[in-house]
């Protein structure tokens, strides 16, 4: 399956492992933070929307 990397196999494989791990972590953290911040903003807007409505009703 893997190509024959000869005596440099360890170097080549570790370069790919480090790089792909960092890229995947960067994408994961970016997506997770995007979802969290979006949810938090929606909660704040919903809460403030409610309180504005309650204030105008009351």
């Amino acid at each position: 399956m893997l190509p024959d990397l000869g005596k440099y196999a360890g170097y080549v494989l570790s370069a790919y492992a480090v790089s792909l791990t960092l890229i995947i972590l960067l994408v994961l953290f970016s997506v997770m933070r995007a979802r969290r911040v979006r949810r938090e903003l929606e909660d704040i807007e919903a809460r403030q929307g409610r309180s504005t409505k309650e204030a105008s009703d009351g």
Partner: protein
């Protein structure tokens, strides 16, 4: 239609929401094609052996590390001149992506350098300016986090970005200024005579396009996040004053 329309946060989010899936899938496709082609289907170099396969990661990452800072420079200048919040937030959003690209370039360079140069690290002009660029990325990210007021943070980080641009340019052109380092001149060249063989060139170009598209997709997503986080902070501040 003017480009400044996208300085409106709502317009920016609406437009990038539509573009994001396209850029994400294009990035994933190019990265998969470029890296699989480069890793599995290219021959070893007669001198470097299989370590030549590291260029499909090292060169695109180094390219994006420098270009991310240049993008931050343009965004910072727009903030300084026109005071568009989206541009300051886009610069902030790009910094961690650029920092990760710099780490990848430094790490893959060290891993390649050990068998080829006999050392993981040398205080060579290009390597050293790249390390300083990484420290500038860390300083830039830290400065944004350290200052509570967004506008003040944007002002100070913009100045830091202008100063750091010297090292972004140095890391690209250091080999031309100081002809004394270990690092060779640019791996790729527009001159066909000087350029690497086509068998390495094609997957490398696809990988570079993949890295560039990934950078754009991440900056879109992260800028949206920064815009929403800024709005959330503003709403919470208003709530506290009521």
């Amino acid at each position: 239609m003017s480009i400044w329309e996208y300085a409106n946060p709502v317009k920016f989010i609406r437009t990038t929401d539509r573009l994001l899936p396209w850029f994400s899938w294009a990035a994933l496709s190019c990265l998969a094609i470029g890296l699989i082609w480069g890793f599995f289907f290219t021959p070893d170099d007669f001198r470097q052996g299989s370590t030549v396969k590291i260029i499909y990661l090292h060169v695109p990452a180094a390219l994006m590390a420098i270009n991310a800072w240049l993008m931050m420079l343009v965004a910072s200048l727009i903030w300084i001149v026109r005071r568009h919040h989206v541009s300051a937030l886009a610069a902030r959003a790009a910094a961690p992506v650029g920092a990760v690209m710099t780490v990848i370039a430094l790490a893959t360079g060290a891993i390649w350098g050990q068998p080829m140069w006999g050392t993981w690290w040398a205080w060579d002009p290009r390597l050293t300016s790249f390390l300083i660029l990484f420290l500038f990325y860390l300083g830039y990210i830290a400065l944004w986090s350290a200052i509570e007021d967004d506008d003040t943070a944007a002002d100070l980080t913009s100045i830091l970005c202008l100063v750091g641009s010297v090292f972004a340019l140095l890391s690209r052109y250091a080999v031309l200024f100081w002809n004394q380092g270990l690092h060779q001149e640019a791996t790729f060249s527009a001159d066909k005579e000087q350029n690497i063989a086509d068998v390495f060139w094609y997957p490398a170009v696809i990988s570079m396009v993949g890295f560039a598209l990934l950078f754009i997709a991440l900056v879109f997503l992260r800028t949206q996040t920064e815009i929403r986080a800024r709005r959330a902070r503003a709403l919470l501040a208003r709530e506290r004053t009521l």
